[in-house]
């Protein structure tokens, strides 16, 4: 599997470490009234789709950046790769 790194170009997936569902970016607000339930969901509940899935990959043997990779879990086809910082900022996060 080749991951097309947004800064460094195509790199072998062996250089990366899988870090889980990209929903981990959306950390709940700890001050919310429903914080306990939100953090339970955030900590334990994951979708396991057969198809397109947004995932976090860490370029451990490269520039150490975190990426959001949109990968098809059935075919390993990769549709989109973005820096996790850019994705987080586009969702209104400060970093």
């Amino acid at each position: 599997m080749i991951i097309d790194h947004p800064l460094l170009g195509p790199r072998d997936s062996a250089e990366f470490t899988y870090m889980g569902d990209a929903k981990l970016i959306e950390r709940p607000d700890w001050q919310s009234d429903t914080a306990a339930q939100d953090f339970y969901d955030y900590g334990y509940l994951r979708d396991n789709p057969a198809g397109w899935h947004e995932e976090l990959w860490f370029h451990e043997a490269g520039d150490r950046s975190w990426l959001v990779v949109t990968r098809n879990t059935l075919t390993h086809e990769i549709a989109k790769v973005a820096l996790a910082t850019d994705v987080a900022r586009s969702k209104g996060r400060s970093r």
């Binding site: 800064l7 460094l8 170009g9 072998d12 062996a14 250089e15 451990e60 043997a61 490269g62 520039d63 150490r64 950046s65 820096l83 910082t85 400060s94 970093r95």
Partner: protein
């Protein structure tokens, strides 16, 4: 008063040099290093300082080969700066003064071992060691990669037969072993 003298990463009193038919692998102990990480919101100001220091901001996957300070890109908004240890022993301090609150500077001299691989067999040795496209790389290309499970930087220098490898100093013997066994196996062909 203690009378202490620094030792090269591989021990001994002078840096190790291994000579093979088509390549020479030498430890370079005259390298001061410090890393620069731009502070959030100060990226532009940090890059301006980098430009003053190196003449240009190294782009992703690139090094700026410059004297006396040189630098390469390590990751988003992060760079490694190197200079001769003789003249720049206090490199991190000097950079912190220059960059002020635009960047966080970390002393890296004691964290890395540097090997210079020079000779016509350099590309053959490099492609046996790691997955960087050495024959497509040009002078000034710098990549982080893995050599025998060790995270290393591989920098193609001005001389077409010169490759500089920075690896973890605490694994200097293992990295040296990887380099010389590869050079030996190539020699056997």
């Amino acid at each position: 008063m203690h009378n202490l003298s620094p030792t090269p990463a591989l021990g001994g009193t002078s840096p190790r040099v291994d000579q093979f038919d088509h390549v020479t692998i030498s430890e370079n102990d005259n390298l001061a290093l410090a890393s620069i990480a731009a502070r959030k919101g100060r990226e532009q100001a940090c890059q301006k300082q980098l430009k003053t220091l190196l003449g240009a901001v190294p782009a992703p996957g690139k090094a700026q080969l410059h004297d006396p300070e040189a630098g390469f890109w390590m990751g988003p908004e992060q760079w490694m700066i190197g200079a001769p240890l003789d003249s720049h022993e206090l490199l991190a301090e000097q950079l912190q003064t220059q960059f002020g609150d635009t960047a966080s500077v970390t002393e890296q001299t004691g964290a890395w071992v540097c090997f210079d691989v020079i000779g016509p067999a350099m590309p053959d040795i490099c492609e046996r060691l790691c997955a960087v496209p050495i024959r497509q790389m040009v002078a000034g290309d710098a990549q982080r990669t893995v050599i025998h499970q060790m995270g290393c930087f591989v920098i193609r220098r001005q001389d077409a037969e010169h490759l500089r490898i920075l690896g973890p100093r605490s694994s200097a013997q293992s990295l040296h072993h990887a380099l010389i066994t590869t050079a030996q196996s190539f020699q056997a062909f």
